[in-house]
Amino acid sequence: MPFLPRIPSFLRNLTRRRKVEQDLADEVSSYVDLSTQRKMKEGLAEPEARRAALVAFGGIEQVKEQVREVRLGRFLETRWQDLRFAFRTLRKSPVFSLTVALVLALGIGSTALMFTIVNSVLLEGPPYPEADRLFMLWQRFPQEDHVTFSAHEFSAWKKQTELFETFSGYMGNGFTLTGIGEPAFCFGQQVTPSLFQTLGTNAALGRVFLDSEGEVGKDRVVILSHALWRDKFGLRSDVLGKPVVLNGEPYIIVGVMPETFDFPQTDAKLWVPAALDGPLFQQHPNAHFLRVIGRLKPGVTPQRLQTEVDLLGKRVDPPDDNTIRRYYAVSLKEFTTGQLRNPLLVLLCAVAFLLMIACANVANLMLARANARQSEMAIRAAMGASRQRLIAQLLMEAAVLACIGGTLGLAIAVWGLDLLKLFGAENIPELAHAHINRTALCFVFLTSAASGVLFGLGPAFTASRTSFQAALKGTTRSTIGTAADRTRHVLVFAEVALASVLLIGCALMMRSFIALTCVDPGFRPENVVTADAGLMKDRYPDAGAIMRFYQNALDKIRTLPGAQAVGVVTHLPFGGNNWGNTFEIEGRPAPTGTDYSAQMRPASPGYFSALGIPLKQGHDFSESDNETAPGVAIVNEALAKQFWPNESPLGKKIRFHKDWLSIVAVSGNIKHSRLDATSDAEIYVPYAQLPADVVTFLGRDLTFVVRSANPASTASDLRGTIRALDPQIVVKIATMQSLINETIAQPRFRTWLIGVFSIFALTLACLGIYGVIAYLVTQRYKEIGIRIALGATRRNILQLILARTLKLTAAGIVAGLIAAFFLSKFLNTILFGITVHDPITFIAVPACLIAIALLAGYLPARRATRVDPVTSLRYE
């Protein structure tokens, strides 16, 4: 039948319902009137005639209902009715509705939150156009991985590569910005001019670098980050062309990047050109400064890239260079998020479990409710509601709940994301890019819909299958009891099993985190305050000036009240800096094609006692170890063991520069940048004996280390002392402990997250157990009454119910343990210090779960012991 002519009727039925109804009523009454008149003509008196007419008519309301039944838009109208009715029913039992909505919101919200993070960090990748074409190049040496490029190597590759459309390098650098308010320290990047083309990002204001600005003389230009522009220049658009002073040298501002641009990480505040023909790179042609990133030509696959990188790698090295190394490519995405993938996927699984537990819980609640509503359903059916209609009605209620749950869940996700950014963004920079987008919204909608159907369908079918006669007679237990009971038990079993897996995972991660915090860093970080001071070129042009500042500051700081031990180092553990260098051993040349390498630590006398690094053999540097005295060095145990496993290294000679240094002591190993890494081989040299070119190059960043009886006052004294010597120096104060804590922020963060999810899961599982046991007690009310009447003690009853609880949960726990045993291998990469089958975890978690389950069962069990046999027998 044609559709178009029906539209007016359809709209009229929906919008002018009252008029349509009135019309129908009029028509019906007119029919009855006419019919009455006819009967009167046939000779009946009016009352009888009317009665006869009405009888012949056959039920005014039924006829009207039949008309309504065929009206257009009837389907929508019915759903609308269902919807209003669902709201009314749900409002009538607010506790139930609220519980269901909250449980769902928790499940959906947590899942949406984790999905948003996974989506933006892992699925979307770095925020640059066609980011899948961005690859980084690295070198692997026999003794070291992740080695960056020297200027020389970079230029050679850039000249010869045929795979990359653009090829760029960058290196981090600290900059002291002076001339605008207080001097400020900014972390920045020296980049080859093409970096911005490689990334495919343009400046928000002004321009990016020109190719010519990668040459000495033209390289005094700077691009600001949005944050720096805001903080230091108040977002003024006239900054372009303005001069600024960085590390004592004048630069001209040529551009400002967009707010979202934060390559290579969030703390990058400015970018300046790296002039590869400049003194820094020319004087150290073989120093591995540059990280390399390139944009592949369209269509180059990663496999092809690696093959050609292998080939080109052999061609690029000059023939006289016999270093053993391999070049390799890593996608930018892999580089930035590779180590986040496993923890994030584990967390995503955790929330998926949580969502399933929430659904099982809600299904259980709905089932209990459907059970309680059997008489209602029976009456509806008796009044003529079809089974479809009853199911539709119950599904509508589930849909309304899912909608409310989904909306609340979305709110939880939005709020949770802000909270996570607030606490985690500093240490997990990738979080900054996480936002709730269309994909995430679709995800929330789908999970809500799916969970709505999941938990709504089962109970709806069970409830609508009720035998109505039985329901009305009040003997429903025998009719739907067994099927529904089985469903409830399966649901609780699933909840407990899922919760066990989650808790095992959580416990493993917590144990691993505790193991991490218990790692001995090799020194005593308590009561140690550090002050980082960067010396700028304009005020400290040569090694002499730097050395004078070093000595003055050290002397002043030694006299600070409360200072027990004072030292200086250029590369502080957990300070974020490292200086790897090659070295030689007198009389022991390295095998061909390789070099001996170690981490260099220029330090002052007193540094070992200030930081609490034990000296295993020999003695500390002394004040007399200066530029005129013979060179000395202290090596750590790792180095000593590597090169002199069976003899004392004391008195042996090594060199990393021109002069031979004799080893005067062996220090204990320390962790330098990560608690979960092994200790590197280290060489400490006296700062005062550093060659002049090394001082001006690597010795400008001094960190004063003070072991203090009163760290709080020392912190401010330290800043004051250094600023009194030179007010232009930017001083960064930190306690050693806080520096260490920053490096474990990420594991702490994920441990917290999984902890929170596990607590949710545990709560929900408890709720499930409680619900089922409470229901069981009501069901067996009569039986318990009889038992008590026959002389069962409170203790017997308690035992009876608790045994039931135990039986219910034990199966779930066992299943959960078995699943966890196999699943825990996925945690392998993110666990530290414990095995994935950590026995303590696998014993403690089930014990804990049983205790909690018994607690959940105890409340209803106690109620069972108070059953009055007389009332109970009258029950039902």
């Binding site: 039948m1 044609p2 002519p5 029906r6 009727s9 359809f10 019309d23 129908l24 009029d26 028509e27 019906v28 007119s30 029919y31 009137d33 006419l34 019919s35 008149q37 006819r38 012949a56 008519f57 056959g58 039920g59 039924q62 006829v63 009207k64 039949q66 008309v67 039944e69 065929v70 009206r71 257009l72």
Partner: protein, 121 residues
Amino acid sequence: MPLQIIYMSNRDDEFTADLLQGTLDLLVLKALAAQPLHGLGVSSRINQITKGTFDVKPGSLFPALHRMEEASWLKAEWGESENNRRAKFYSLTKAGRRQLETETEDWQRISLAIGSALRAS
């Protein structure tokens, strides 16, 4: 005893429903072919033209009239009845006449076919 046409709203029995509904539709259209009638009029007219075979009860008549009106086969207007009562008069629309024609043809074809089927031995 006249046959009662009961419009079946029970969708489980769709075949019967369709058949009966089709018959009822045809009868209503035919009843209205001559002149506009109100509901009771339609019912009496059907009774009259089927020589008392069909007695259409309001429970079937009203849904049928409303459905056909929504399908634009019928047009309804309030008017005065024979004894000055207000009543809703239904008349055929152009689409309704066309529908009557097609349904008449269909019915004749079906009844011929069934008739010959029943005569066959």
